[in-house]
């Protein structure tokens, strides 16, 4: 599994009027669990988007292993993104598909056989404790359950990296703890976890590396950190 490296990265918006990230130098080693913390608008989401090439740096380079994301051709981006599993605050589930179909979709797009889908999806759903909800639609689930579906979908392709952007933003404390436990478990299985959040409780619960961002700059990087702003 490759490392992720930021070298002198700048990201500007609105014709360079707004600097979302400034001079970011960062190395995330394979298999690490990293929490990126900061206030709203600090640049956490922009930083994660640069990792899976949803955004491109204005200056500097972002490497995934030896690949510079700037060099990836547009038509190869969907294939590059299959290295990452992504989870968001608003879940981003497909509303017209059942829990099973939502998770299966990630396998369908890469051309997995129907047999493989029928074998893999129930395994992942039981891992997140949602096997019995397979036939339900997203609007029939609680926030915590929706996030577990999103997590299951992110995991199904066994990606090298899981990027979770405010995954507990819409969840109660108990559900948040469940999600963080699942992320820790996935990390133990070998995946790199990048967690962007301003949820103090789950950062402290994880007890892993914490990178603090303020106004687009890294202001803290602690190996076994606590949420301090």
């Amino acid at each position: 599994m490759p490392n992720i490296k930021f070298v002198k990265v700048e990201k500007n918006y609105q014709d360079n009027k707004f600097n979302a990230l400034q001079n970011i130098n960062l190395l995330i080693k394979q298999g690490e669990f990293v929490s990126i913390v900061g206030k709203s608008g600090a640049g956490k989401t922009t930083l994660t988007k640069l990792i899976y090439a949803e955004e491109m740096p204005t200056e500097g380079d972002v490497f995934y292993g030896k690949r510079n994301i700037k060099d990836i051709k547009k038509k190869h981006l969907p294939y590059f993104r299959r290295n990452f599993g992504t989870v968001f605050q608003d879940f981003k589930l497909l509303p017209q598909k059942t829990v099973f179909e939502n998770v299966a979709y990630a396998l369908e797009v890469i051309g997995s056989s129907t047999d493989a889908i029928l074998e893999e999806v129930p395994k992942i759903l039981s891992m997140v404790d949602l096997l019995e909800e397979s036939d339900k639609y997203p609007n029939q689930l609680s926030g915590g359950e929706k996030q577990k579906v999103a997590l299951a979908r992110a995991l199904i392709n066994r990606p090298d990296v899981i990027i979770a952007d405010e995954p507990t933003g819409n969840l109660d404390y108990i559900s948040s703890l469940e999600i963080i436990k699942l992320l820790l478990k996935i990390n133990e299985l070998g995946a790199t976890i990048i967690l962007a959040t301003h949820d103090e409780a789950i950062v402290n619960k994880a007890g892993k590396r914490v990178i603090t961002i303020e106004d687009g700059k890294i202001v803290g990087d602690q190996v076994k950190g606590k949420y301090v702003i």
């Binding site: 547009k74 969907p78 992504t86 797009v109 979908r153």
Partner: protein, 302 residues
């Protein structure tokens, strides 16, 4: 794997088509109307062509001789005209044959029978019926006959048929023009409405595209269901249009039965079924697919 993905996107396209049922009904209806106008114009044009061809085949020059010209001279003239390279056939009709035919054609009309009895003798003239190899040569042939046999000739009738053909030709050309203009207007409206219907359905699913891209779906994989959706609009509208045109041919067009060589307009429709329905189907599918391809481009930046 490509086949598997194709099957999955096809199924997805069908699901979207069924799920947005009202939007689908509206789009299919407008597209159907446009295709119907185009198809009906095509059919009318084909029938009119058949009709003109049929009338043209029956065009001939009737050369009527003065009563004092004897049969041997007429036969000589017949042979001379036969030798003209533009002539396809020459048929001699004696005054007796002409009377028989006239009497037979009017046997149910007592006024004409009484008039013939009153006259007491055969008032009709001997004639020859000349047919040209090429329709365009009739004018030249008339000139040739008039300049060489004017002394023997009583009259020549060609002008009447010529007028009928020219008038029919003008009517057909006008019908075609109207059909093309109406067809173009309807097809433009159909493209716009299909395009907007698909755009609306894409707008509703805009967020889904982001999700699809995030899980690593290629642009083609995201695009394909919408292209199939457009294809379904085109397909169902075409099928409806083909059925409606068949219905029109069955109920309306028998008015011209007998005027065309194939007796029956339905037979004519059936024998041209592949051309008419094929054209409608291709037009429908093209409108559906092209509209969806244009509409989806907006939503698929990498």
């Amino acid at each position: 794997m490509k086949l598997l993905k194709l099957g999955r996107t096809f199924k997805e396209g069908w699901t979207i088509f069924v799920r947005n049922s009202w939007l689908s009904v509206a789009t299919v209806s407008v597209l159907f109307l446009s295709l119907y106008v185009i198809g009906a114009t095509l059919l009318t044009g084909m029938v009119a062509n058949e009709l003109i061809g049929n009338i043209e085949k029956n065009v001939s020059i009737g050369v009527y001789f003065k009563p004092d010209i004897d049969e041997s001279r007429i036969k000589e003239i017949e042979n001379e005209i036969k030798n003209n390279e533009d002539v396809s056939s020459v048929e001699y009709v004696s005054k007796e044959q002409a009377l028989d035919k006239f009497s037979n054609d009017n046997k149910d009309d007592p006024v004409i029978a009484d008039a013939l009895n009153e006259i007491g003798e055969n008032p009709l003239l001997s004639s020859i019926i000349v047919k040209a190899k090429d329709q365009k040569k009739y004018g030249q042939l008339v000139d040739y006959i008039e300049s060489n046999f004017s002394e023997e000739m009583n009259n020549i009738n060609y002008g009447k048929n010529k007028d009928v053909i020219e008038r029919l030709g003008k009517i057909v050309a006008t019908v075609r023009k109207i059909g093309i203009i109406l067809g173009a207007v309807f097809i433009s409206i159909a493209i716009l409405i299909t395009f907007n219907a698909i755009r609306l359905s894409l707008y509703v699913r805009k967020r889904e595209f982001d999700v699809m891209r995030l899980v690593g779906a290629s642009n083609l994989y995201i695009k394909a269901p919408s292209i199939f959706e457009g294809m379904f609009y085109g397909f169902f509208a075409s099928v409806l249009a083909i059925i409606a045109i068949a219905g029109t041919a069955y109920s309306g067009l028998p008015l011209i039965q007998g005027l065309i060589s194939r007796n029956d307009v339905i037979n004519f429709y059936l024998s041209n079924f592949l051309v008419i329905s094929g054209s409608i189907l291709v037009a429908g599918l093209l409108v559906g697919v092209v509209s969806s391809m244009i509409a989806i481009r907006k939503y698929l930046k990498a």
